[in-house]
């Protein structure tokens, strides 16, 4: 099947449309089945993927608006492949574990449309199609936060929408400018990213364009100081909303850096290493400190997820294969681990209708299964060896060490700080005396909840022990991209920066 990417994008959308007809009581089963089929389709994509090929595969191209250079252009490489699989997996598991009962049919349909836009973002190779899915993904999320969220849901939903929308409009101007330059040089209009890769831009253009794209992506990541929308979004969103937001939507930002900023503006990217590293460090350390101070369990997870996004950003700008592959691997692990943690918090919230740490204590005695799974996910989040969190974080730190040992050491504190605030959660919630009467009546995880979490636990351990099947293709594409960036870079310092890392790789 050559057009599997189109199928992957539009299958959930068609299913969402047809879902309007499905009976309310059967909506959940319908949604889970559709998400499962979608997940198997994405697995099929993995199996038919040519691991040795570092370029774009399953490419589809249909000109849509040739006068404006817009075409329906899809493709996947090693970088996007696993993010797609992670997206479909997290949608499936999020849906399966969902405890929501209010308006379940609307929720299922919204999630299916959201899945279309998320997959669309990761397979789009045309900037306008990318932008289209990128913006469209805001609408279902707005609805999920706004309709099922907490007491301040409307404020949170609008803040989320407007913040991202503003950033992406600046990015859109950047895209239009790139298209304009492309037109000036070649006489043809094109928004195809692969065409844009061929552009060698003067450094000052690169800097401006990097800044324009940076605004769009950084708000989505969210980078400090653009992160203020995320505590609201996570705080008010229902569990499924937080799961998807943390697992997939944030990845759109970092993916955008890999897909656009790095290969298109290599010189500007090299120049931006220091400022971005500083911002990422602030993200890592500052949000970890905030996480420690939180009284609300979900906010701890929310801030820890931002803190880990800092590590991903750091890896992206290491400009070498270890850093980049590690950071892409970390995107996957962050998606799975923080998604699982949000699900776990949601499960306790459903039982007790509170997320305040002070309300809990000694839960391990009444909910042993819950405590074990929570513990594993928590360790993975901290980056314990032999869990998925370790691989990415380690690679990123190795990668960035070649750039700046000082920053790497500071960033390495994230593991310590992470351990501090995560173990605090563990201590307050699961250990200590079981003194709250209400907690004594708590039931352990039921079958549905257990079985939706076990696959994630399995992945966390499997990829922690043996990451090669995933790291291999990522590494391939990353190396191809790096050597391409090296060729394309015009300033000597950029060439040095990118080459240094390659030679050290060869030396090993």
């Amino acid at each position: 099947m050559d057009n599997i990417l189109s199928v992957l994008v539009f299958f959930p959308a068609v299913a969402g449309l047809l879902g309007f007809v499905v009976n309310k009581e059967s909506a959940r089963a319908y949604g889970i089945t559709v998400a499962a089929i979608e997940f198997f389709l994405s697995l099929w994509l993995w199996f038919s993927f040519d691991m040795s090929n570092a370029g774009m595969q399953f490419v589809e191209m249909i000109p849509l608006i040739p006068d404006m250079g817009i075409s329906y252009y899809l493709g996947a490489d090693g970088i996007s492949l696993f993010i797609i699989i992670m997206t479909t997996l997290m949608t499936l598991i999020g849906m399966a574990s969902m405890g929501e009962t209010k308006n379940i049919k609307n929720m299922i349909i919204t999630l299916l449309f959201l899945e279309m836009t998320m997959v669309g973002v990761f397979v789009a190779l045309d900037a306008i199609i990318f932008y289209l899915f990128w913006e469209l993904s805001l609408v279902p999320m707005l609805y999920i936060i706004g309709a099922w969220g907490g007491p301040r849901r409307e404020y949170a939903a609008i803040k989320f929408f407007l913040y991202t929308f503003t950033g992406s409009l600046i990015m859109l101007v950047g895209m239009l400018f790139v298209a304009y330059i492309y037109h000036n040089l070649t006489g043809v209009w094109s928004f195809a990213i692969t065409d844009w890769y061929a552009l060698v831009l003067p450094v000052n253009y690169q800097l401006w364009l990097f800044a324009a794209f940076f605004v769009g992506f950084a708000i989505k990541v969210p980078m400090f100081p653009f992160h203020t929308w995320i505590p609201y979004a996570h705080g008010q969103a229902p569990t499924i909303g937080s799961v998807i937001l943390a697992a997939v939507l944030l990845k759109m930002g970092t993916y955008g850096f890999v897909r656009f900023s790095l290969p298109m503006f290599p010189d500007a990217s090299v120049m931006a290493i220091t400022p971005i590293a500083v911002l990422s460090l602030i993200m890592v350390i500052y949000t970890a400190m905030i996480a420690y101070a939180q009284k609300d369990m979900k906010q701890v997870i929310a801030y820890s997820s931002v803190s880990h996004m800092g590590i991903i950003m750091l890896g992206l700008f290491a400009m070498n294969a270890e850093g980049l592959s590690g950071s892409i691997f970390q995107m996957l692990s962050h998606g799975i681990v923080s998604g699982a943690l949000f699900m776990l918090v949601g499960m306790i919230y459903e039982r007790r209708h509170t997320k305040l740490l002070s309300e809990f204590g000694g839960l391990a005695a009444v909910m042993p299964k819950y405590a074990i799974i929570f513990g594993i996910m928590l360790m993975a989040s901290v980056g314990l060896p032999l869990t998925i969190g370790f691989v990415g974080e380690f690679l990123v730190l190795i990668g960035f060490y070649q750039v700046s040992p000082v920053i790497t050491i500071l960033a390495g504190t994230s593991i310590i700080l992470g351990a501090v605030y995560m173990l605090r959660v563990m201590k307050l919630a699961f250990f200590g005396p079981l003194d709250n009467e209400e907690n004594k009546k708590l039931k352990d995880l039921n079958g549905r909840e257990t079985w939706s979490l076990i696959p994630l636990v399995a992945i966390v351990i499997w990829l922690g022990v043996y990451p090669k099947p995933v790291l291999g293709p990522i590494d391939n594409s990353v190396k191809a991209m790096l050597s391409f960036m090296d060729e394309k870079a015009i300033t000597q310092e950029a060439k040095d920066m990118i080459r240094v890392s390659k030679s050290s790789k060869e030396a090993k």
């Binding site: 608006i65 469209l136 609408v139 849901r153 929308f165 101007v173």
Partner: protein
């Protein structure tokens, strides 16, 4: 002894007049029908109007590009053809909105339909000439008919709206007349192509620049009134509020298309002559219009007023494209309106559906936000459709207005105005807030309990129109390409 003037019929090229004559004849037919039988139902007049517009549409399509006729007064170039097509097309969508299930006063008069057709003829005259006097005649014909149509809504604030619009329109007409007079005094001609030639030769004369400035100021003010640009926009929200919802939607599209065509002809000429001052003024006006109207729209308590301010802001958006004076810029004006037309008319039609005879929710407004609270629970399809229109207006892809927006922004970038594109982007972000506000009310809030919320003004024809508008909004991605290439071809063929 005067020489007898011999004019051959061929040289008149009367076919260029045919579209307007069809509209006028149609209006007369409706009046005659009413004379013969007074009891005819509005549905007959509606369908008759649509049929006449259909013939009108066909006759415009049949015109050849770049022809002159009727003592060279009529000018049928690319932009006059596409703007006529758009005017007639929008009118054809608009007029069936009269077929509501409740009866509203104005549509029971056949005069409404006759006036409507005369108004269209007026707009057609406006766009199909470059003669300043005929433009003036067209503006006045169309405006006088429009004032009456507004007043026919038969409410206290409709009269207020009509009188306000009339006063402002008269002022604008006066400015236009004075501006034209100066142009005539400078060049001895009222035909723009001759004016441009003569002015070009006299550009270097010292002391003349002040007169050229003067003429451009007067004309600019006149069209700023018509296009509701800041600071001449203050009439627009009140007039839109007073007019019936579909007419308000209509006013935010059709008269503006006509006014934009004339603006392209007049101000394009000034910019081509190298009067940079005009370009800068237009840019400043455009930026102020889009920004301030957006900020005003944020604080409105009534959806109709919000949409009124939003359409002012959209007009500012497009005005900026006019200042670029490139083929792409001019194409973007038409593309934007062609795409905006469906969405905006659709949104106003949705207001029309929700219109009650009495104000149930608020003593002051017909369509306060509270009215739409929880609409998704009462009328799920209606809420989804309205939500789509709002998203489209906010510029969320892949809905129609987005394609207009990126084309305008691309045109701005291509002309070297990157700051303008960024201003446009930021303005779209501001605008997203008030569109979202309605979405939040419709989808995320519960209905107001103590008011009996029924939306009964729907009927099959209205559903068909709204369905069509929705389709055009959602499926825009598939027809943008032919639209762009047709518009671009027509505009470049007429040399703009």
């Amino acid at each position: 002894m005067l020489e007898p003037i011999n004019v051959s019929l061929e040289s008149l090229n009367l076919i260029t007049l045919a579209p307007m004559l069809i509209a006028i004849a149609g209006g007369l037919i409706i009046l005659i029908l009413d004379l013969i039988n007074e009891k005819l139902d509005k549905s007959l007049y509606v369908m008759l109007t649509v049929l006449i517009l259909f013939i009108d549409f066909g006759s415009v399509l049949g015109l050849n590009v770049n022809e002159r006729g009727f003592f060279d007064v009529m000018l049928i170039d690319g932009i006059s053809i596409i703007s006529q097509l758009m005017i007639i097309g929008a009118s054809m969508i608009f007029i069936p909105l009269a077929l509501t299930s409740r009866r509203f006063h104005e549509y029971s008069y056949p005069e409404f339909f006759a006036l409507f057709l005369f108004m269209i003829a007026g707009f057609q005259f406006m766009v199909a000439t470059d003669n300043l006097i005929l433009i003036f005649v067209g503006i006045e014909t169309a405006s006088l008919a429009l004032y009456t149509l507004i007043a026919l809504h038969n409410r206290a604030n409709s009269y207020e709206a009509a009188v306000k619009y009339f006063t402002m329109g008269a002022l604008a007409a006066a400015f236009f007349a004075m501006g034209s007079a100066i142009v005539y005094a400078l060049t001895g001609s009222i035909e723009l192509y001759k004016v441009a030639e003569i002015m070009a030769t006299r550009m270097n004369e010292p002391g003349l620049m002040i007169a050229i400035f003067g003429s451009s100021v007067f004309l600019l003010v006149a069209f700023a009134f018509k296009l509701s640009l800041f600071p001449f926009h203050t009439w627009a929200p009140d007039v839109y509020e007073g007019a019936s919802a579909p007419l308000a939607g209509y006013m935010s599209v059709v008269p503006k298309i006509a006014a934009f065509v004339v603006s392209i002809r007049i101000f394009g000429m000034y910019i081509d002559l190298g009067v940079e001052w005009v370009r800068i003024t237009i840019l400043v006006l455009a930026v102020l219009t889009m920004t301030l109207a957006n900020i005003m729209a944020l604080v409105q308590g009534d959806v109709k007023r919000m949409l009124a301010y939003s359409s002012i802001s959209h007009a500012g958006f497009i005005m900026a494209a006019l200042a670029l004076d490139t083929t792409e810029g001019n194409t973007s004006i038409f593309l934007y309106y062609a795409l905006f037309m469906f969405t905006n008319l659709g949104a106003f039609a949705m207001l029309w559906i929700s219109r009650h005879k009495k104000r149930r929710f608020n003593a002051r407004y017909d369509h306060p936000y509270e009215k739409f609270a929880g609409l998704v629970q009462i009328m799920p399809m209606g809420a989804v459709v309205m939500g789509l229109f709002m998203l489209s207006l906010a510029g969320v892809p892949p809905f129609s207005v987005f394609w207009g927006k990126i084309y305008v922004m691309q045109a701005a970038v291509n002309a070297g105005y990157i700051w303008l594109a960024i201003v446009m982007g930021l303005n779209s972000a501001i605008a997203a807030y008030y569109y979202l506000k309605l979405i939040v009310y419709m989808f995320l809030k519960d209905p107001v309990k103590d008011v009996d919320t029924v939306y009964y003004n729907i009927s099959k024809p209205l559903m068909a129109i709204i369905g069509f508008a929705t389709l055009a909004t959602v499926a825009a991605i598939f027809y943008v390409q032919p639209l762009v290439s047709y518009l671009y071809y027509m505009i470049s063929a007429s040399g703009y």
